[in-house]
């Protein structure tokens, strides 16, 4: 009677089954709401030839950027990759394949992947490099391009709280891409700050229902800040 209990005890178990050449979808925006320890485990495992789908690729020494030095990433699908020197080097030298995708299109591709929608039309990217090779069609006299869904062998996400059924809630803007990524993985692994008892999360307030989540692990997080901007105290 443990079938609905998604909790695993080690990061090895959390990423069990990940092998070379797989596609991983990751939640997170910049360094906010990223599955820090799942990424660290992928680095530790040394899995290679990965295709990564993520809005960003971290920085040189944190986030998905840590997978770059050992060349674990073959291809990345992302909207913004500009915070990372090693990334730029690998991209410019052609060692790393980069598929730049508009942020909204990327979010929608993940959602579509999880929702069984193989493709959708969008105005984003019409008349740009993004439209190259894509079906174009008019609706109500406006041009749109057809974008296809993305799914992954794994989805790795970060949430705030989970129960053992895999029900998740996120905190503030650490939500970002995590809910869509959660729906789009064949195996979805969530790492969380806090494990709570079933029933502790209000059913009306669950962001990701457990049906999308295969494994849950509780971790501790550095939560590094990329742009620390503050105002002087008292200033308004």
């Amino acid at each position: 009677m443990t079938g609905l209990n998604k909790v695993v005890q080690s990061y090895q178990d959390a990423m069990a089954g990940l092998v070379d050449g797989m596609t991983i979808i990751s939640g997170g925006f910049g360094l906010c709401g990223i599955p820090e320890n799942l990424i660290a485990e992928i680095k530790r495992k040394g899995t290679k030839s990965l295709t990564l789908v993520s809005n960003n690729c971290g920085v040189d020494d944190f986030g998905l950027g840590v997978l770059l030095p050992e060349r674990q990433i073959k291809k990345i699908i992302a909207s913004y990759v500009g915070e990372n020197a090693e990334f730029e080097r690998q991209m410019m030298s052609g060692e790393l394949e980069v598929e730049l995708t508009p942020q909204g299109t990327l979010a929608e591709k993940m959602r579509a992947g999880g929702a069984g929608i193989p493709a959708f039309y969008t105005a984003t990217g019409v008349g740009t490099l993004v439209a190259a090779g894509k079906t174009e069609r008019q609706f109500n006299d406006r041009d749109y391009i057809l974008e296809q869904a993305i799914t992954g062998d794994f989805a790795i996400i970060k949430a705030w709280k989970a129960d053992r059924f895999g029900n998740l809630v996120y905190r503030k803007t650490a939500r970002n891409f995590n809910p869509m990524a959660a729906t789009a993985g064949k195996i979805t692994v969530a790492e969380v700050e806090e494990l709570v008892e079933p029933g502790a999360l209000d059913p009306d307030e669950i962001h990701t229902p457990g049906i999308y989540v295969n494994r849950v692990i509780q971790g501790t997080f550095e939560k590094r800040i990329e742009q620390r901007t503050t105002r002087a105290s008292g200033e308004s």
Partner: protein, 218 residues
């Protein structure tokens, strides 16, 4: 005198209306938040999933889980809401954001905009910019009128890879406020002390100049 970054922000802020939902891009557009008229209420949208973006946090308020699209730590205003990236871009792409302010490298007389890529030089990605320009009806582009070398950024045809096609209707530069329609630039206002001739000289695309071009006041 060319407008300062702050003056550009100030002038953009005058385009806001009571009740607007506004997305401010990174850079100069972010400064616009400082000049919202006090007699109107607007709500700032940040495309990473926040409506009701507030000012920077005090040290005590600092929260790694609360950032804006520029990855800066921020706060929330009363009545703010949080949502995922698909929902955030549903707001943008579905036309629910009333005003979008963003920067650019170039715009042209057909309303095309290039803002995200300089081939061989700057390839950081488009982020949400392509969604913003395709989704919004009411966009103001802020940029300098010309490069440091005097090359116009208001062109007959953009030379860099496009961010969006035929979607820009208004540009505020350090020299002028310009409307784009019917395949031409139209001069609406000029910066204080800047002559129409200076603007003409630095505008490569066809510029329609009315008899009287009001000067901006600050």
């Amino acid at each position: 005198m060319a407008l300062s970054r702050e003056q550009i922000a100030q002038r953009v802020a005058r385009e806001m209306r009571d009740g607007y939902y506004v997305n401010l891009g990174i850079g100069i557009p972010t400064l616009v938040a400082n000049y919202i008229p006090e007699d109107i209420a607007v709500m700032l949208h940040s495309e990473n999933g926040l409506l009701g973006m507030g000012q920077f946090p005090s040290e005590a308020e600092l929260d790694a889980d609360l950032i804006n699209a520029g990855k800066q730590t921020v706060t929330m205003t009363t009545g703010a809401s949080i949502f995922d990236s698909a929902e955030s871009f549903a707001m943008i792409r579905g036309g629910h954001v009333d005003l979008t302010v963003l920067g650019a490298f170039e715009v042209d007389v057909n309303g095309n905009i290039a803002s995200y890529m300089i081939p061989g030089k700057l390839i950081k990605g488009m982020g949400g910019a392509m969604d913003l320009v395709a989704g919004a009806d009411n966009i103001i582009v802020t940029m300098t009128h010309a490069s440091k070398h005097g090359e116009s950024k208001l062109l007959t045809q953009c030379s860099l890879p496009l961010t969006g096609k035929g979607c820009i209707k208004k540009v505020l530069t350090d020299l002028a406020l310009i409307e784009i329609k019917n395949g031409k630039f139209h001069l609406l206002e000029r910066a204080p002390g800047v002559t129409v001739d200076e603007i003409i000289k630095l505008t490569q695309g066809e510029l329609v100049v009315p008899k009287f071009v009001p000067e901006m006041r600050f």
